[in-house]
């Protein structure tokens, strides 16, 4: 994956017809995951698509500055996260954002969750994820929401499976602690 990515990046940086094809390949491979990531933050289809377009524009314009110290997905994830949070903040100020879909459903049986709706608990969950370091947040999202195997995540972001398990475990503990604090108040 890495060598294929490197070729695409090189082609985009050099420009010409190959650049457009390489960018299309990048978009098709990572677009769905980025869209899901954006949607989980924005929770609005139209705005999520706008955000994704902005992310693609930034990737297209700035790929030459991508130093390949991390995997391409990690770099794009960072852009998408920043773009989503910025958009969320500005849309919330203008009260334009309407939440269309719930991202999580509550499975009955937890006392602390009985009085909450899916959106209410997800609001806390989003807050908790935002407090995580970037890599932990990324691993948590890919594992918890996307339900990817560690081997798949490892290929995607270039980290060992052992490292991913540790990151996910720490992320889960932090999120659980954050949610418990929120639910007790």
């Amino acid at each position: 994956m890495k060598s294929e990515e490197e070729l695409w990046v090189k082609q985009v940086v050099l420009g010409g017809p190959d650049a457009e094809n390489a960018f299309k390949a990048i978009s098709v491979r990572y677009g769905p995951k980025l869209y899901s990531q954006i949607f989980r933050i924005i929770q609005n289809e139209a705005i999520s698509k706008d955000v994704l377009q902005n992310v693609f524009i930034k990737v297209w314009r700035n790929l030459s500055s991508f130093k390949q110290e991390s995997n391409l997905y990690t770099w794009m994830y960072r852009i998408a996260r920043n773009e989503s949070l910025t958009t969320l903040a500005s849309e919330a100020k203008r009260s334009h954002l309407s939440i269309e879909t719930s991202v999580v459903q509550i499975i009955p049986g937890h006392n602390g969750l009985d009085t909450l709706t899916g959106n209410e608990i997800y609001h806390y969950l989003k807050e908790a994820i935002e407090t995580l370091p970037e890599k932990q947040a990324m691993v948590f999202e890919l594992k918890y929401f996307e339900d990817l195997k560690y081997s798949e995540i490892s290929k995607l972001i270039g980290t060992s499976e052992g490292g991913l398990k540790a990151s996910y475990h720490i992320a889960k503990e932090k999120i659980t602690a954050f949610l418990k604090t929120r639910l007790n108040h």
Binding site: V28, G31, P32, L52, Q53, I107
Partner: protein, 157 residues
Amino acid sequence: MKKGKDILDHLRPEKINTPNKAFFEALATKVTDENPKPAVKIRLLPKIIGISFAAAAVLIIAVVLFKDFSQPVAKTKVEKALFADINNEEIYAYVDEHLDDFSIEEIEERFSSEELVYNDIESGLDLFSDISKDEIMDYIENENIDLDEFEDELLIF
């Protein structure tokens, strides 16, 4: 609350309906069409400057490494022209007056270049004709000069 389960186990992430492949291809095409990529600039000026600095550095290193500083510097035409109208006596007088301004190497170089060679002991002795032996001995004593070091050279005595 079920035993052994934490809050996250009681939440089920919903599947997000992502657009199909055609959407992402179309979006990529739209982005590339509407945002033409600037042509890759081959920055010649920085390259030229870099190469120039490298060449200059190599040249300086070569000069420093391969120049033989032990050899006297060849006189240039300009230098020769400057001294053309000055006779040797004037030069010797100047050197004598400003002796402290020159190193021994410079004086040796100048004298040899002017082909001033002491061919006999008499011309050497002439230099000390106005100085008494007592004065010379006082000088030697004051300067703490060890005469044994010059046993092969003390021809003047």
